[in-house]
Structures are given as structure tokens and as C-alpha cells.
């Protein structure tokens, strides 16, 4: 409840922020603070410098971009994303996942960028950004790059961001003609996902022509489920296809399971199958 001391910087522009980060390799970025501060209060995270980017208004915008997709500033809060008509149109599954993060207080101040950078394995938006095929825009003093969500999540709490770099925005494709959904089983204590499944389905009539499936909560990082995707693609998403996909997702994630005392690995693995079916049904409804 009493963080250890640190130096605090609050740059007023993105350029300044990037310069500070470039000058201080060990500096930790503070966005909404809703992942970082809880660990600092417990003194399980001690940092020498925090760079508060919370005032950088250029990172707060949510806009529809040329291809009909949506670009979400890193500092957009979960509540803003959940309420955004642009996100609801282009990527309804993300709007819905943002509405499931933590609680209303956390959603009011926690940011998508912070969520992605921290990449808790049980976070909701990360799983959906992966399911939706998002692209993470990253800048540093020396330039910018974009990383596809498929490559962004490396391991437990480990993502493709280097010292000096900052997530500036996330771009999501226009999925308004797709069927998509995110469903989760919430842990009764932490509200984190015991398992969360995001699906994006491309439909032609009653047939699913392609599918993207991502699983979180049950796995050390948000994870694509290629087996489940092929089981769904080409099917009419009937019961047999759903069952096949549910079986497939269990093997897709078999070697990266995570668990805790009441929700161990085996249960989460099974529930990934159950929630995959629920996600598909939710997407179709």
C-alpha cells in the first residue's frame, strides 16, 4: 500500500515522452496505472523512474480509418472503447471485452495500451486484439514500427516492446461484416478471465469461410487456436463443427496452459472448449 520511491516525469508531448524513454532505459511507462500501481503498492514492483504519459492527448483518440477499420489510441480507456460507436461498429467483440475488464472504476482509467504492454495472461482486450487481427503501433525516439498481434505476444507478461519504445495505438480491421464475439469465465476473486475466448468469423450464407480464434486466461499468453480455426472454417457451424472446434482448441493450447489452485490447467483447458462454443454462438446471435 506504500510504493517505494521513484523519480516521476510527466512529458507534455509524445516526442518528449519518447526522448525521456530513450534517455532512461530503465524507466517504466505509466499510462492508466491500473496494472502497474497495484504491483508497486505491494512493493513487488520497484522502479527508479516512472514516465507518466497519461496527459498525451494525441494518444487518446478513437477514429475510423480509411479501410473502415478503427484506430484506438493507446490511452483510450476501456470504458471509452466499450462506449465507442466506431469500435462497436468495426470491432464489436473488442467493445464487449473492454466492458468486461475488471470493474467500472478500473474501466474508467485503465487503458488499452497499458493493458497490451502489461499483457496479463488473463486480460480480456489482449485476447480480442489477437482474435481480431489487430496491429500494434509502436514508436521510439528513433522511429516507429507496427507489429501484428500474431507476433506481439511472446510469453507470459512478455511482449514485443523494447526499452525506449511506447505503444501509441492499435489498429483493428473492419469486422463489421464478420461475426465476432468475446466470452469469458470470470474468476470470482480477481475478475480476471479463467478462460476467455474471442472469435471472428467470416460468413458466406450459413457457411463459415474463415475463422480466427484466440484464447486467453487459460494460457500463458493470448494464443491463436489454428486447429479450432480450421475446424470452424468451411463448416456451417453446426453442433458437429462446434464440437470438433472445441476438441481442437484443447489441443491447440495444450502446451501453454496456466492454472491456479481452484482453476487448474486441466479445467481451464476443458473450459476453453466450452467457451469457444459459447463464443461462436454469441457471435452468431
Amino acid at each position: 500500500m506504500w510504493p517505494s520511491a521513484f523519480e516521476y516525469q510527466r512529458p507534455v508531448s509524445l516526442a518528449e515522452a519518447l526522448q525521456v524513454l530513450s534517455d532512461h532505459e530503465d524507466a517504466k511507462v505509466l499510462a492508466g496505472g491500473h496494472s502497474l500501481l497495484p504491483a508497486m503498492k505491494l512493493r513487488l514492483a520497484e522502479h527508479e523512474m516512472l514516465v507518466d504519459i497519461g496527459r498525451l492527448s494525441e494518444l487518446k483518440e478513437i477514429i475510423t480509418i480509411r479501410n473502415g477499420g478503427v484506430k484506438i489510441g493507446a490511452l483510450a480507456t476501456h470504458a471509452e472503447i466499450a462506449a465507442s460507436v466506431d469500435v462497436q461498429r468495426a470491432c464489436p467483440a473488442l467493445a464487449s471485452a473492454a466492458g468486461m475488464v475488471g470493474d467500472q472504476q478500473v474501466r474508467n482509467w485503465g487503458t488499452l495500451g497499458g493493458n497490451l504492454a502489461h499483457s496479463d495472461p488473463a486480460s480480456d482486450p489482449t485476447t480480442v486484439v489477437l482474435a481480431c487481427g489487430g496491429t500494434i503501433q509502436i514508436q521510439s525516439a528513433s522511429g516507429s514500427r507496427s507489429v501484428s498481434a500474431d507476433d506481439f505476444f511472446i510469453d507470459l507478461f512478455t511482449v514485443d516492446i523494447n526499452p525506449g519504445e511506447l505503444i501509441t495505438s492499435v489498429e483493428l480491421p473492419d469486422l463489421s461484416r464478420h461475426k465476432s464475439a468475446y466470452v469469458k469465465m470470470a474468476h470470482p476473486a480477481s475478475r480476471y478471465a479463467v478462460v476467455g475466448v474471442g472469435v471472428v468469423l467470416e460468413m458466406s450464407g450459413n457457411t463459415c469461410t474463415s475463422a480466427r480464434v484466440a484464447v486467453g486466461g487459460a494460457t500463458v499468453k493470448p494464443t491463436r487456436a489454428p486447429g479450432a480455426e480450421s475446424a470452424l472454417a468451411g463448416s456451417t457451424l453446426d453442433e458437429a463443427a462446434l464440437n470438433a472446434a472445441a476438441d481442437a482448441v484443447k489441443s491447440d493450447i495444450a502446451d501453454m496452459l496456466i492454472g491456479d489452485m481452484n482453476y487448474p490447467e486441466d479445467y481451464r483447458q476443458e473450459m476453453a472448449g466450452v467457451y469457444l462454443k459459447r463464443a461462436v454462438r454469441a457471435a452468431l446471435s
Binding site: R43, L44, E46, D120, P121, S190, G259, D260
Partner: protein, 157 residues
């Protein structure tokens, strides 16, 4: 807490064994280690200081690493004790090597009994096992990177 895993090195068993016995290699392979000094009057024992940075945890730990029960070139034991943030991380890992002549690779299996005490144990149980696994794999990965030829593959537990 029992943890185990395997790691495949694209190298001969003797080379891998040599790397694993080399204090400099160990020091470089341990994630975040910034001091690694032999303990006086002991062999194969070091005092270490590390900046741990995994999951939400970030902070300085001090501790000791002891190597024992070496059976070259196939088996040894590492005993690690670290302390910081009102937490204690302790573990003993038995590491076994075998050579797969068909594939031309050295197979490493590790089997650890890890104990986490204090604040980390109380608050981190949700991710502790996964984090310990990741750290172990990172260690062997870092060892592998110090192979003369830098190609290696990884398998996680």
C-alpha cells in the same frame, strides 16, 4: 512446487556440459544477474545479485547458487536461493543431459522443486508456476545462445 521441462541444444553433449559448468556462462544466462561472485572457501558456489523482471514483479534479489553432485557429462544439481521484496525464492534443480545421435542434438531435462515464500507466495500464486517455468526456459535459452553455433530449438514443458 514441482516444475520440469526439456530443452534441446543443437550441439554435442560435451559442449553443452562445458557451457553449463562455466560460471561465466551461468552468470550471463541467469536473467537479470548483475553480480556473480564465488563464495569464499566453497567450490562451485556463488553469491549473486539480480534484477528480477518478470510478470508484474520487478525488483532486486540477492542470493546464492550452488552446483553439486556433478556426474559429467550427464547430470548435476543446482541449488538456488534468492531473497528480496520480503520474499524468498528457493529451488533445487536436477539437470540431466543425453545425446540423441540420430538428431545430433543434446537433450536436457530439468526437474525442479521450487519453494516461494513470503509476499510473492501470498500474492502471486496465479502466475508463479508459469513464471518459474518461463524463467527456467529463459535460462536454458540463454545458455544455448552461448553455443559456438547459435542455432538451437526449444521445447517447453
Amino acid at each position: 512446487m514441482n516444475l520440469s521441462g526439456t530443452y534441446t541444444f543443437d550441439a554435442d553433449q560435451d559442449i553443452v556440459w562445458g557451457l553449463l559448468m562455466d560460471p561465466d556462462v551461468i552468470a550471463r544466462a541467469m536473467p537479470g544477474v548483475d553480480a556473480f561472485v564465488p563464495i569464499e572457501n566453497e567450490t562451485d558456489a556463488w553469491n549473486a545479485k539480480a534484477k528480477i523482471n518478470v510478470a508484474a514483479v520487478s525488483g532486486s534479489y540477492i542470493g546464492t547458487i550452488r552446483m553439486s553432485e556433478q556426474q559429467p557429462p550427464s547430470q548435476y544439481r543446482l541449488t538456488v536461493n534468492g531473497e528480496g521484496q520480503q520474499s524468498i525464492i528457493g529451488g533445487t534443480v536436477v539437470i540431466q543431459l543425453s545425446y540423441d545421435a540420430d538428431e545430433g542434438v543434446t537433450l536436457l531435462t530439468w526437474d525442479a522443486e521450487a519453494n516461494i515464500s513470503g509476499k510473492l507466495a501470498r500474492i502471486g500464486q496465479r502466475v508463479i508456476k508459469a513464471a518459474a517455468n518461463m524463467m527456467s526456459n529463459r535460462f536454458f535459452g540463454n545458455v544455448a545462445q552461448q553455443l559456438p553455433s547459435s542455432e538451437q530449438t526449444q521445447e517447453q514443458s
